[in-house]
Symmetry: C2
Subunit: 346 residues, 2 copies
């Protein structure tokens, strides 16, 4: 299995696969400074809600590596400032603030030198990394029972190994099924504007030897009408207490189309994606991204300068369109009431 986020060889930086270059080029990159960490998250070199949580926590450690010579007060100020900046790089996924908050809480519990605090933070980030890997596998094991032999799974965006530190969320049941010899196949929405489906999902599945077919985002309904899709599995960037969830733009339309055809629609996500502080989808902040992601694709002008551009990164799908949530704690059926779960216990 590929590793989208891990420690660099010397253990002091964050080694990522640069997802901007795929599928044409495979580039690994070490993030060592605050700027490098924030830039990698903001430009989607590392992306996917679980992966940016892990990369944010590990990146916080990397960004403080050169600051252990500071006095305790200055180090504490640096820690707070770096955490705030990493936290603000992307607004929608809950995993990033969740991971940063957990790091700050760990630091607050240490009475010691900057070096000792950094060691504790490194330990905490490693725990977050390892928990993410374990969570992915548990999601896969809970979800695999939903895939009959020969199942044809449609997914949107990339909620695979590239989006986590482990085997992914939406793709975890597929990887576990494949490990067990089931002949599953995947249909991947290309996922405009940034094409995470065609560039990333198709790449990692092909690399794993799992049959994958790419389609444009408007084609899923046609496949469902033909009876070519058995189920949908998507990831989530933030899940509200009532089961409404934010995910890559286009997810909501897919959920409506799946319901129209009676195709089961599953959301796979670790517990850390649930934000019980958010009652429902209306309260989820949606990141608006730059118009040029749509207007200029691949260096070409594809829409005239005079046209306005609508480019939200995410949409919100109501929980009533979700057949079940596949989490690390098990498969959760409706009605959804995550408020009682207690947030972010793994």
């Amino acid at each position: 299995m590929i590793e989208a986020v891990r420690w660099s060889a010397d253990g002091r930086g964050v080694r990522i696969i640069d997802q901007r270059a795929l599928p044409g080029e495979y580039i690994e990159r070490d993030l060592r400074t605050l700027d490098e960490v924030c830039d990698a998250i903001a430009t989607l070199a590392v992306r996917g809600a679980p992966a940016i949580g892990v990369a944010g926590a590990m990146g916080l450690v990397a960004s403080l590596d050169a600051s252990t010579g500071l006095d305790a007060s200055a180090f504490s100020g640096r820690l707070t400032a770096n955490a705030a900046r990493i936290r603000a790089t992307r607004p929608t996924a809950v995993n990033l603030p969740w991971a940063i908050d957990r790091m700050l809480a760990r630091a607050a519990g240490v009475r010691g030198t900057p070096l000792e605090i950094l060691a504790a933070l490194r330990d905490e980030a490693t725990r977050i990394l390892e928990e993410d890997r374990a969570m992915c596998r548990r999601i896969g094991e809970h979800g695999v029972g939903l895939l009959a032999p020969g199942a044809r799974v449609l997914t949107h965006c990339n909620a695979g190994a590239l989006a986590t530190a482990g085997m992914g969320t939406a793709l975890a049941p597929v990887y576990v099924a494949a490990e067990r010899g089931a002949q599953v196949s995947v249909f991947a929405d290309e996922t405009r504007p940034l094409l995470q489906g065609s560039r990333l999902t198709a790449w990692e599945l092909a690399r794993a030897g799992i049959p994958v077919t790419v389609l444009t985002d408007g084609m899923a309904a046609s496949l469902m009408h033909r009876g070519s899709i058995d189920l949908c599995i998507v990831g989530a960037d933030r899940i509200a207490a009532n089961g409404d969830f934010a995910n890559k733009i286009g997810t909501y339309a897919l959920a409506i189309v799946a319901r129209h055809h009676g195709v089961p629609f599953y959301v796979a996500a670790p517990t850390s994606t649930i934000d019980t502080a958010v009652a429902d989808g209306d309260a989820i902040v949606i990141e608006q991204r730059n118009a040029d992601e749509v207007r200029r694709s691949f260096g070409h002008l594809i829409a005239p300068e005079e046209a306005a551009i609508y480019n939200p990164a995410f949409d919100v799908t109501p929980g009533e369109l979700v057949t079940a949530f596949i989490t690390d704690r098990g498969v959760v059926l409706p009605p959804y009431d995550f408020a009682a779960w207690g947030t972010h216990e793994a």
Copy 2:
């Protein structure tokens, strides 16, 4: 108003706007040979169901311009062969075979020299051109009543002036409303893989001074949820007797999403698009296009070579999702039974 298809300056070729170059470059091109006509239609230099009917008829004339020195039998053979080749360039839209059949019927009615037959064909092609312009305007006048002042119209692909010889089909009500001073605006799905929405619809509306916003195909549901869309209008490439219709891939998903939100969904098309020989949508042949339209966009590899590609040019939307058809004969409400209409009378 732009003219997507007209006679060249000397009246012997077909002058088109080369739609492959938009929105970056505005190029007009004269088609004078059979190869040029077929290539322009097959590569979508001229596209849109009504426009390829008009261009096919006019192109047949252009392709015979150098053959009037042949004897009657050889000319007749050339006519039959050229008509068959133009007819076969694209399979889904009914307008192309309809226009070619009409040309052949006109030729069959002429007892005369090749020069006289060609003159009759030129006259027939000019009639088809002028009827198309008139039909567009009638569609606009019938449809404009559906647009309240300030209406926000969502459309898919390009069924505008660039898709016809006139002011378009889906966009005709928008142009007529704008002529009358109504402050309408348009949301244009970019329409992957060939981006006719962002490249063509946005370009022609911006050129006409009508506010237009481009979105990717997965974003329409998000806009509808926000209450930002008052109605959808799309074109059609072939309409079956029961109201099922083929249109650009992605139309079917849009119709489902519109129904889910209670947004009216209209189909604007000239009567020549109705194919009463086709009982329902299952009988409509769907053109499958090359995988590289999806895999290689703008010269970039956006999906790995190992991935399969699904790339139908069209999908079929059932008539029950259509609020009304806007035709040159008026607005047609359900239940749809076009069998009684008699095909292709304008």
